[in-house]
Amino acid sequence: MPKWITQVGCPYCGSSCDDLEVLVSDDGKKVLETRNACVIGNEIFHHASNPNRPTRPRMRQEDGTVKEITYDEAIDYTAKALLKAKKPLIYGFGSTNCEGMSAVGRVAEKAGAVLDNCASICHGPSFLAIFDNGYPSCTLGEVKNRADVVLFWGCNPMHAHPRHTSRYSIFPRGFFTTKGNMQRTIICVDPRETDTAKLADIHLMIDQGHDYELFDAFRTVLRGHDIPDVVAGIKKEQILEAAGKMKNGRFVMIFYGMGCCHTDGRNHNVDIAISTTRDLNSHTKASIMAMRGHYNIAGPGQVWSWQFGFPYCVDLSRGTHAHMNPGETSSIDLAMRDEVDCFVNVGTDAGAHFPIEAVRHLKKHPFITVDPNICMASEISDLHIPVRIVGVEEPGVVYRMDNVPIQFKKVVDGPDGVLSDEELFDRVYERMCELTETEPIWILNRGHAHGSSTAEQ
């Protein structure tokens, strides 16, 4: 009998939904059906059974073709490439578990590498603003139960976080929000009329790139001063109306996304968003949250902060201490200045998502991809090592966008012989220790993900 597995976590967006139900085949090897998942989550669970998925490491040959090799050979190649490089860059981690991130930390320290995650090209500016200005945030549960004015600024959850609005921010009925969306006022700030903007009571169609000015206008109004007739393309009356709704709300929630971080101003846009939240708190209760993109992209920020004291752009190449300085130790800048001589892409696709010039620079040196699937990075790599898919074939801890840790399950067995990220990087670490004739240092119990998986089943 096929079996329904309930309370399954979804390894796609930052909403990290943990209410999926997955029907698996008799032998526990194939996903047959999913419930509650969005269209993207559904695709991930079904993709695991794709017969064209690689199940052995593939090494690129001189003629450009690839040849299957063993995991031992792949581990040896990776260990040697990392040891040989003066300043390797290990980047990615949008889609893996915290156990894998922690294992990579040991490898990076041994290699004297720069350790960076997808926040570097995403919510990195948020980190900078949070360091400067604090982070008056809350959990998504509080949003669901309390928020009656919800602001989406430069984010489009209907496309990027498909179930965010139904689980947390617009539609659900909560403890103090018993009437669900009837009780919530939705304000959207976006230069396009996105599908999220269509759901909003007030859509402020801002001139692209003028977010700072509009935030500033809100702060000015909230402090009781006058503003010009038009700010950032928005009429004064509309700004006053939106500010009035926020002031009169019982709990104002500001969600912001790449509209702030990817455009001119970067961290300054986030900085003033945080200041606006602080100003709002002199009128009512207000909170702010970054719309983190992937289900565990908050994870490396947590794990590496424990390990090294910094969430991203962690430069361990000095060998004595960790150093972080985005702009200097960030992946794109390192690539553009040709400062790295080996690139390891883990659980992401730098080939598709880096500006192409940065990819060109990185490709001058050994280029290794660790990812379950064929992607652009894997197709230009010297070595592609497939791993199990976290959340589908591999359990583990993930951090949701509100930094709440969630234990994800596995629902099916991975392909025979394919390693997890954690197993792979632990073996790379051991091999590096062998090659350098040093003793491996294990601080924590190993096999944590596996211990918890048996407890869950």
Binding site: Y12, V39, D195, D264, I332, D333, A352
Partner: protein, 138 residues
Amino acid sequence: MKEKIVLNMITQRAIEEGQAMEKGKTTPEYFKACSIVEMNPEDMKKLGIWRNTNVRVTSEAGSVIVKAIEPTQYVPPGLAHIRQGVWANQVVPPRTQSTGTPQYSGFPVTIEPAIDERIKTALELVQGAVGLWKEGGN
């Protein structure tokens, strides 16, 4: 009618892109979802093109052929949108304002008709950029 038009480009997510990406970046779905530029019909008129015409998008960082379509989510005149992914990243400037984050949104592009030009596949673009592309694939 003009030969060229300068627009402000943003590159962001779309659910079609997300779904296609999880299916695989070498699939026809991904090609269809991402090798497009959404622009206002008014701007198309200025450029003298019909919808679903191939255009060349050029920025300070590079150039790419994509198909101009009417916006799936309204884009005002003056603004253009390529969904994040391989085609967008051919033109995204890698400058980071010292934050590490490239200029994925808010950079000027020139758009010109390229009716007879072919849209390259994702693999052709990325492998081509690093000298690995071979006709017929590897």
